[in-house]
């Protein structure tokens, strides 16, 4: 059955899905007593805070302004008093500025529509849609957190032919996008129409991997009511959620190497989570103050999908699933392939937190690395056609110029190479070092 399905042609792996929380409805969690909302939840310049300690804020009130075009507004996710603006550890453990708010009640800004009613009619024009999205501080919720209004502002001389919707959710364990597609189906379609209008594109394709059959069925059924939107089932293959892989799988076009963008081949790609946030921002005046977070793991008592306010400590979400299991060895923010291990559960949910994965001790430790046997398994799974073994060796020897010639900047850090390496060499760790160094060199050269 799955043989005839579309996918990207080069590389990729298929690991166990482990979608433990796929059948769990999105629940809301009790409000925390204190939230810390980071000022840098997106790619680009951190936002500038516009509140002072002791200021009273409402849910949805702007608390930090974007400090440039590639930056995003940040709104209060709770009502209460601003306690302080201080540095708090982010998911890497480094201190970053955040607004810390003591929660008092749950008072929303008056202009936000909190009803569940579906608003199909779009009364805004292209320009005001993008303005609304920018004002709502929406960023790509798939994990890259790139400000959405930048993506939707098509540069002059380029045309957009397709809007591609990423409902792939190729990371094992994570189910937040899957649940959104099932529970907010109509809203997502309206959101797609809004984005199509903003971009002026006639066609939108939703790509969903074949392990989410219920979502494919539901989305396909509804897509008949909307002109220009189609649903495409895709073969299960990681990292299909990557922009390059999705564009190749859906419309058979190749996005050029960085600084190439999807718009260079006439498409814009948006995640379903982002689309839902756009719907809420444009139709309901609701800024991005909450998102769906999957809390999962084989040892977790009740894997769940939560609608969590931005700034909620992760510990509260884990508590709501039945507490942190005793044998926990590692907690990962994100999925198992691209996620990052975190060293404390005190870090807040941010716009880019798609899930929290709790791994028991036995699955946590890396195996000891052996020597490379040049089996080329990493080469065969690299979706970009790079040579990971070579890149990692160049990085180890600090030969960054050679790594640049080997196109290290193309790496999307999907981790297929490390996953597939029989010698358990942490290839991606080395490649990431080379990539950041080369990017820095390139930037310095431009200056």
């Amino acid at each position: 059955m799955s043989k005839g399905l579309k996918t990207f042609p080069v590389g990729g792996v298929h690991s166990c899905d482990n979608k433990l929380s796929a059948s769990k409805q999105i629940e809301s969690v009790a409000l925390p007593t204190i939230v810390s909302i980071p000022l840098s939840q997106h790619i680009g310049a951190p936002a500038m805070p516009i509140v002072k300690p002791l200021d009273k804020v409402k849910v949805g009130q702007l608390i930090a302004k974007a400090s440039g075009f590639v930056s995003a507004n940040i709104h209060s996710s709770v009502s209460g008093t601003v306690k302080k603006i201080d540095d708090v550890p982010d998911s890497c453990g480094y201190k970053r500025p955040a607004v810390i708010i003591d929660v008092e009640g749950d008072i929303w800004e008056e202009n936000i529509d909190r009803t569940d009613s579906l608003l199909k009619e779009i009364i805004f024009d292209q320009k005001s849609i993008i303005e609304k999205i920018q004002a709502a501080g929406i960023v790509g919720l798939g994990g890259a957190t790139f400000p959405t209004h930048v993506k939707l502002s098509v540069p002059k001389g380029k045309t957009c032919e397709y809007l591609l919707i990423n409902g792939v959710e190729c990371e094992p364990y994570l189910t937040s996008d899957h649940r959104l597609m099932l529970e907010k189906t109509e809203e997502i379609f309206v959101g797609i129409i809004i984005v199509m209008k903003a971009l002026g594109v006639p066609k939108a394709i939703i790509g969903i991997e074949n392990n989410k059959k219920d979502a494919i069925d539901k989305m396909s059924a509804i897509s008949n009511n909307y002109k220009g939107i189609s649903v495409q089932a895709l073969k299960v293959q990681y990292p299909q959620g990557g922009e390059k892989q999705l564009a190749k799988a859906l419309i058979n076009r190749e996005i050029p190497a960085p600084p190439g963008l999807p718009i260079d081949v006439g498409c814009v790609i948006q995640n379903v989570g982002t689309i839902y946030a756009i719907y809420e921002a444009v139709q309901k005046n609701k800024p991005l103050i909450e998102r769906v977070v999957t809390i999962t793991g084989k040892s977790i008592k009740k894997p769940s999908n939560f609608l969590a306010r931005i700034g909620t400590p992760i510990s509260i979400l884990i508590q709501a699933t039945g507490g942190l299991p005793e044998d926990t060895g590692k907690i990962i923010s994100g999925g198992p392939m691209m996620g990052k291990a975190i060293n404390t559960t005190d870090i807040p949910v941010s716009k880019g937190t798609s899930g929290i994965l709790v791994l028991p001790e036995e699955l946590s430790n890396r195996k000891n690395a052996n020597n490379c046997i040049l089996c080329a398994k990493c080469v065969s799974v690299c979706p970009l056609g790079l040579e990971p073994y070579l890149l990692s060796k160049l990085s180890l020897k600090s030969l960054f110029d050679k790594a640049e010639n080997e196109q290290v900047v193309n790496c999307i850090e999907c981790g297929c190479c490390s996953y597939n390496c029989p010698a358990k060499i942490p290839l991606l760790d080395f490649i990431r070092l080379a990539k950041t160094t080369v990017m820095k060199n390139i930037r310095n050269r431009v200056k």
């Binding site: 890497c92 480094y94 201190k95 291990a341 060293n343 080395f430 990431r432």
Partner: protein, 293 residues
Amino acid sequence: MQSTLKYAILSLSTIGTVSAIILYFIAQKFKVIEDPRIDDVEQVLPLANCGGCGYPGCRNFAEACVNKHDLACLYCPVGGPATMQKIAKILGLEAGEQIPMIAVVRCSGSPENRPKTTIYDSVKNCLIASSVYSGDTGCEYGCLGLGDCVASCLFDAIHINEKTSLPEVDQDKCTACNACVKACPKKIIELRKKGPKDRRVFVSCINKEKGAIARKSCKVACIACMKCQKECPFDAITVENFLAYIDFEKCKLCRKCVAVCPTSAILETNFPPKKDSELNKEPIVTQENNTNV
């Protein structure tokens, strides 16, 4: 058979002679006239090609010495003053006065002082580890102990102490070439004045957190209590961003700050054991003594 041999010898020697003549003229045409003193200077250099002088290699340093006509800004940290004197003699110039320096590790966060909070099990490389996260302890400024400095040292002068898992500098081998300073992603290592009889006083911490937070993650962190700044009779200590720093140009090694530091974040090296009576004495070592070592 005989004639074949004859022709072979004849033709080969003709080709050889003609080529030699051509090569001679080409060599004359493209001759590079180089100051012979460059070779002489290079001979007295340590030839470690470490780059500590700021030039890519010893040959480049020798060229710079010969071409600059002034040795004031040139210094080979490996060879030290002795080498600079030799170079000065060859070139007939004055060698610049240079104070011997040494690399100093400004972290005392051994596992006892700074308990581990997480386990890191990826590549043993500080640069990679620091790009992944803040470190396996509560202190995001502290040493990761994975040995990038050790790998960068060309003189085998820095090693990780197994007990403290912190790097230690071998003061006899360190040439202050700056390689470890550049290699450390946390900027923990600093070049400081070697000091008379290798005696130094420095703040062994670079934690810029507020006192309470710094202390929570590490027992020997600088908590910016300002005691040392008040105690210092020479204005050598400044406290900025919740961190004390001792200016080695102003410090006269009186060690009053060491005595008052509540967290023992200020370290002294190679001093004889202190007697109580010495505490209130005037500084023994003066600035003049400093430069003569």
